[in-house]
């Protein structure tokens, strides 16, 4: 038991924790980043630069004898910006370009907490015939290798089976 507890404690947390709550025709996705955001992202936020974390959600239909078919794609963009004059943090969450929620907080910790744990996204799921898979990832920054080859800093893709609604 002790050994199991030690192993559990030592096991690293997944980078991105995703909780799914299905309902008929809908799926509520709650995402939580469980690791520290890049320091340059935090520094930029502190300095008042607009920063964001983009949560990408891709819904695939698992087909027999065929490749998985992408049936939907969604982006939850959580933006944060600090007013260096007032010290107030403006936060907003936009799902597919539509504002899902917004608020203002007074501290950096609160802002980061909001960004890594955004409001749940409610997305539509198609009529189920085959099993559905959801791929989720959080992206923080875009950087370039050898000056010109772009890559994204973020979590790995997390794959989850979409549960049947009760």
């Amino acid at each position: 038991m002790i050994l199991a507890a030690i192993l559990l404690a030592a096991a690293p947390l997944p980078e991105l924790k995703v909780e799914l709550k299905p309902s008929p025709g809908r799926l509520e996705v709650q995402m939580t980043v469980q690791r520290e955001l890049p320091s340059e992202w935090v520094e930029a936020l502190k300095a008042g630069a607009p920063v964001s974390v983009t949560y990408r959600m891709r819904l695939y239909r698992n087909r027999h004898f065929l490749w998985d078919q992408r049936v939907a794609g969604h982006e939850l963009v959580v933006k944060a910006q600090r007013d260096t004059l007032t010290g107030v943090m403006s936060l907003s969450a936009e799902l597919d370009g539509e504002i899902l929620a917004s608020r203002q907080v007074d501290s950096l910790e609160e802002a980061i907490r909001y960004v890594v744990h955004p409001p749940p996204s409610d997305i539509a799921i198609p009529l189920r015939v085959e099993p559905l898979w959801l791929f989720v990832r959080a992206e923080y920054l875009t950087r370039y290798k050898v000056l010109v080859f772009p890559y994204t800093i973020g979590t790995d893709w997390v794959q989850l089976a979409v549960p049947e609604s009760q």
């Binding site: 607009p50 920063v51 007032t86 875009t142 000056l147 010109v148």
Partner: protein, 702 residues
Amino acid sequence: MTNLRRRWQRYRRQNRFLIGLYVLLLLLAGGAYALFSRMAGLPPEDLTNRLLIFLLWWFDLTLIAILLFILLRNFLKLALERRYGILGTRFRTKLLLSYLVLIVVPTGLLFLLSAALLSGAATAWFSAPVEGMVRAGVEVADGVRTEAEARTQRAAQVIASRLGAIPTQPARLTELERLHALMGNHLTGLLREGIPVVELVDPRQRLLERIPPLAPEVFKADGVRGERFGGTLVVRAWKRAPDGSVVMVGEALPENLVRAQSRLAAGGVAYEHLKMERPTITATVVLGFGGLALLVAFGSIWLGLYLSRRFTAPLLALAATTQRVAGGESLEQVPLPAEDEVGMLVGSFNSMVLRLRERDEELQATVRRLDTVLGAVRTGVLTLDAGRSHVRGNPAAAAMLGVPELARGLMALDNLSAAGLPRLVEPIRTATGPVRGSLTVYPGGVARHLEMAIVPLGMVENPEGWVVALEDLTQLLRAQRQAAWSEVARRIAHQIKNPLTPIRLAAERMARHSERASPDLKDVVSQGCSAIVEHVQAMQEMVNSFSRYAKMPPLARRPVRLGELARQVVTLYQDVREGLRVELSDRSDGREVLLDPEQFRQVMANLIDNAVEASPGGGLVAVAVEWQGAEVVVTVTDEGHGLPVEDEELLFQPFYSTKGRGSGVGLAMVQRIVTDHGGTVHLEANQPCGVRAVVRIPGGLE
């Protein structure tokens, strides 16, 4: 046909271009659709950045693809051309590689240097001092606000504690007014249940009278908040009093200070934003530089290829033309490319072509004239190449030899042998220099007597070709033979008539004496019969000589030591006459010669006999045998009264005699035997007197 092919190729090229353009547009449209569908939710700034990066990438990749295509196509084309050995490939390969090295190396180095400089410059922009300054600006703004927050919080706390000690409301309001004035607050308020009971505003800060109230729920706990209002920063702090009321103190920071702070904050935000976008900016500029470098490389390579084609095309055309001319095609001019050095070269070549054409036309005219002449002359002319493998002839030669193909063009010399002319072919093949001779051929079964002369063209040691001239002597020989027979008949008649006259006179004398019954009849008959018998014997000898000349046997050649043969003949003439010496000088060194000894013995006997006959007063008859080159030479020299050697041809004719006796066939037989041996004989005057007969026989045996 050529025009049609050119049009078809142009059509195919246009078609390929249109298909390529269509596919390119399709790809572009698909790419643009995918890009815009992915970027629909992006803010304009990100969209611009990504679009710019995408376009730069597309531009660079397209240029790289075009460059690679051009280079690969040219290298593949050159490799194929080199494989098929097309002229000028090596030169163009070297040129292309030189262009490539000269363009790619400096352009690549320039690009790498530019990228490194740019990266360094970008790093320098975001250096630590600049960043520290920006951070300090943000900290100053934070500090000023924090200080204001601390001041207002302390003031609210002081006022709340003072009011908590005052039991009545009027007294509290009085104290509030006093403390507001005393502490110099810009805004002091007392709220109950979130609703202001009283609000005191510094008359110098009337702006605060219009500031919207805070939401009631924020007053559940103590707090402070800064807000932008009316171009300044208003900090409001509130403190709950023990009785549940809330004391709020506000302060509006000076506008100048807030404006400076705003500028500092905006600068800091811009800096941070730029810092965040630094990799994108660097990538954009590097890609831009890359595109520019590729564009320069593309333009340079294209220009290089164009110039190389332009430079090499006239030279290659020139070389191809010279190769075609060397291969035997007709001379042609090369189009003049430009008025440069290459143009001068091409112009010189064209001038040379013009001159050569004129020469060629002159040569053709000469050849035509020569052909006409050769076609008209009665002499047969054969021309052969240096190797004497092929021959062609003029119409006269074709008619003489009965081979019409000779006049139509070149034919193998072996075919002449196959056509029954081996006796003609053999001397042509074996001739090592000018040769003259005669031969008889039988075209169509009819005998033709030909005089032949074989002459090398150019130097004898290394002739450029051979010419054979044939003269048909058949008619001439026939005429000569007829004339000879006439002469023979005349001379025979003369020779026979000479003894007939004394015979007739003797017979008539005997008849007269017989009619008169002359007492001298017996003597007359005896004398007449003697004369008749003598002349009949002479006629008999003459007839025998004719018979011998006419029935000359065929040659029976065998190796003979001519010196020995001459000695045998000379021995017969020793002491033939008083005072006459016949001497032999044998310098033949015992070498053998191929001849008929019996007939040649007759030759020597006739010549020595003539010499003896020509020396009635005695003297010396010298016989000499010696080798001169490949010929053996026999000379018989006398010191007699001589002969009219200028009439040598007459002397060798049969039945011609200067002696007034004899048959006159001696020298004729000598000439015939010597000629049959392939040799020659001629007479020349001996100094101071006499005649020298010289016989030359070719071909000795080693």
